[in-house]
């Protein structure tokens, strides 16, 4: 979200500086003094109109900022956030705007203390300036992407700048000091050690370099004071020191000449620094001020190094961020639905045209067909009637049961010695041709033509009771083969052999209802012949 932040509100001790990125790069739009009448309303108007309501990031550049280096015992990942929050609350109970971030430095486990991580705890007061800024941001209706402390964000800039200025042939300095005067007159010094914020100072100096010598000496005095602090933090000349000063060339050269400490001194204008860092700032900016560089750096960064948490900020930023995300999702949805609707509409148009074209072609073809028909009719053929009636007859032939052919086939199979008792030929029900239904009915035969059969003929024959069962069954099998040979496109199966006593058997019973013993009963055999008209 911060990547789209194009308006920077820099809270200074004297005024709120409003920066906005435009066509010519980041520029200072207005510095609104805190004492100005209708401050919130005016600042909101500037944000909404002059900055076109672009997303806002608030940068605190006030003197009163609090930093503490704290050790936090190593705990598991789940508890770490709670432990840090608790310690932060204890460290700054009276400052609701606060945050913490871990340093690279780690404290190993010792006899008395467990291993710990080192954090920088930072806090800023909920000052009148802060409240006014938040109110202005709220009234502007611009989305608020974050609130940060300038020195913390500047540390990454100084680190990057120091790295870019150091030639490859030379080892990087352990310490870097960035010195730049801000538009409110204060001199901001940011000191980093091993790429991390070590200390920062904001002190008043003369707000003009009309007398470059005087300006350089005042800045030198402040730098000397900073050096004494650095010495307390363990600075020794052997560590290596980069000093980067933003100033006009004349004043910068004097300052570079009077600094005695062994260091790599770079005095640059704001535009030179911006170019080195790849920042875009308005070319007409005053080249001796450094605050625009901090604003441009934060504007360029995809996310803040240490976003500060505060209820006032979240009350404004969260709903607006949600609304912005929702708007983006809805815009994406609109694009998706719009694109899909466009594609479908195009397809619909295409299909419509295809239907029209096809109908047109069909109509033309019908005319062509009609012409052909008329030609044939002129020759004495009623084509439609002839073809239609023949198609009807063919369909009827297909559905008809050719009884006489089946009977003839059966008769040829029976020969002279056998005579049938009954024959019944009937059409197949549709369900009988379905394989699943047949299997449910116990028919597991794997006949590939089963689905094509349209009728079944059931033939029954009677064999005398004196018939030898085995010989009789052999005769039945032979009969089956003979019928099959006569009816090649049919499926002939023996449904009942002599040895079975199933539903087709005759049963002779006496008057008392019991089977009469001693009465020989004839054998009834049954064959099923399935077929279809080819």
């Amino acid at each position: 979200m911060l990547g789209s932040a194009k308006t920077i509100l820099m809270i200074g001790d004297e005024a709120l500086s409003i920066y906005s990125s435009g066509f010519k790069g980041l520029e200072l739009v207005e510095a609104v003094p805190w004492s100005a009448d209708n401050f919130e309303e005016n600042a909101a108007k500037i944000i909404a109109k002059d900055c076109a309501g672009k997303s806002v990031t608030v940068l605190n550049d006030m003197v009163e900022q609090h930093y503490r280096k704290e050790r936090v015992p190593k705990v598991n990942v789940m508890d770490r956030k709670n432990v840090v929050t608790r310690k932060l609350n204890v460290a700054f109970p009276n400052y609701p705007v606060r945050a913490a971030f871990p340093l690279k430095e780690k404290i190993p486990k010792s006899d008395k203390l467990p291993a710990a991580s080192v954090y920088i705890f930072a806090a800023a007061p909920q000052s009148e300036q802060y409240v006014k800024t938040m109110e202005a941001a709220k009234r502007s209706l611009a989305s608020v992407s974050g609130y940060a402390l300038l020195p913390v964000e500047a540390a990454t800039m100084v680190k990057t700048l120091s790295a870019k200025l150091t030639p490859r042939s030379r080892p990087r300095a352990k310490w870097s000091v960035f010195i730049g005067q801000h538009q409110n007159g204060g001199l901001r010094q940011v000191v980093i050690k091993d790429g991390e914020l070590a200390l920062t100072r904001m002190t008043p100096v003369v707000d003009t370099d009309a007398d470059p010598d005087m300006w350089a000496h005042e800045v030198y005095q402040e730098f000397q004071a900073t050096l004494s602090y650095m010495a307390r933090f363990g600075f020794v000349a052997e560590d290596g020191l980069d000093i980067i000063v933003v100033a006009n060339p004349a004043a910068g050269d004097i300052l570079g000449g009077i600094i005695e400490v062994e260091a790599n001194i770079y005095t640059m204008t704001a535009s030179e620094v911006a170019k080195k860092l790849g920042l875009s700032i308005a070319s007409y900016s005053d080249q001796r001020y450094a605050d625009i560089l901090h604003a441009a750096w934060v504007s360029k960064r995809p996310k803040l190094q240490l976003p500060m948490h505060a209820k006032e900020l979240e009350a404004i930023s969260k709903p607006r961020q949600v609304a912005t995300i929702l708007s983006l999702v809805l815009i994406a949805g609109t694009c998706y639905f719009g694109y899909q609707a466009y594609i479908k509409f195009e397809e619909l148009q295409e299909a419509n045209e295809t239907v029209s074209d096809t109908r047109l072609r069909t109509a033309r073809l019908n005319e062509e067909y009609q012409i052909e028909v008329e030609k044939k009719e002129a020759l004495g053929f009623d084509v439609r009637m002839v073809q239609s009636s023949i198609a009807v007859r063919d369909a009827l032939d297909q559905a008809n049961i050719d009884v006489l052919s089946v009977i003839e086939g059966i008769g040829q199979g029976l020969g002279r010695d056998l005579r049938l008792d009954s024959v019944a030929i009937e059409p197949f029900q549709e369900s009988q041709t379905n394989r699943a239904t047949r299997m449910l009915q116990g028919d597991f035969s794997n006949d590939p033509n089963a689905a094509a059969y349209t009728y079944v003929a059931r033939v029954q024959l009677t064999f005398p009771s004196t018939t030898d069962i085995d010989r009789g069954n052999e005769e039945i099998d032979a009969l089956k083969d003979r019928i099959q040979a006569q009816l090649p496109n049919h499926n002939v199966e023996v449904e009942k052999y002599l040895k079975d006593t199933e539903y087709v058997d005759e049963l002779v019973m006496g008057e008392d209802g019991t089977p009469r013993e001693g009465v020989a009963q004839d054998f009834v055999i049954s064959l099923a012949i399935r077929g279809a008209n080819s």
């Binding site: 929702l326 067909y369 084509v383 009637m385 002839v386 239609s388 009636s389």
Partner: protein, 217 residues
């Protein structure tokens, strides 16, 4: 909420929601179903076009076949396939069949005809006239029954399709039976039945102009 988000932002969100809803509704409630319908229409129209193309190709390529078909058509006409199923003509044929086949008895029932739409017949603006026919036989020999059916197949006006057939031998030929047959008696040794459907094709226009002709029993 309006104070924090602003009227304009809320209106933009609401507008976007409305646009999304409108587009989604247009897409899923109109365009997608309409496209499905249209694609089905395209398939149907293409099939119709291909059918006509096929018909044209056939009619152009099958001129020789048409002559053969014309002969078949003439045969159908001669067989009474385009008649309106005169019951009087049918009665004559049934009588002739009985005499021809020597079946002992042939009880014939021709039920009322009904008009049936047929896809092939419709192409020539014709409808099918169908009458169920049931015949119950008794005979000395099953051959007589087969001859009866054969005679009908050859002579009956229109098309007779067999729906089902059954035949039962009621008694075996014994000396007594043979003596009875020798004296001129006709013992019913065989019984049978056949269910038929009498099909003819009639002009839709003619039939609906005079429908009672087809329904006469």
């Amino acid at each position: 909420m309006i104070g924090i988000l602003g009227f304009k932002r809320i209106m933009i969100v609401l507008f976007l929601v409305a646009v999304n809803a409108l587009l989604a509704a247009a897409l899923y409630l109109y365009l997608v179903p309409e496209l499905d319908t249209m694609e089905r229409k395209v398939r149907t129209e293409r099939a119709a076009e291909n059918t006509v193309r096929g018909d044209i190709a056939n009619i152009q390529a099958e001129f020789d076949q048409l002559e053969v078909q014309q002969d078949a058509y003439d045969d159908l006409r001669a067989d009474g396939f385009f008649s309106n199923q005169s019951r009087r003509d049918a009665q004559i044929v049934f009588t002739e069949a009985k005499a021809y086949s020597d079946v002992t008895e042939a009880n014939v029932s021709v039920r009322s005809g009904m008009v049936v739409e047929d896809e092939n017949a419709a192409k020539a603006d014709q409808v099918m006239l169908e009458s169920p026919v049931s015949i119950n036989f008794t005979s000395v020999d099953d051959i007589d029954i087969y001859e009866y059916i054969h005679y009908l197949e050859q002579v009956f006006p229109g098309y007779l399709s067999v729906e089902s057939f059954s035949l039962n031998r009621n008694a075996n030929v014994s000396d007594t039976m043979l003596r009875a047959i020798a004296t001129g008696a006709t013992p019913p040794l065989v019984t049978g039945s056949v269910e038929l459907t009498w099909h003819t094709m009639v002009s839709r226009e003619d039939y609906f102009a005079n429908p009672e002709q087809g329904g006469v029993r």
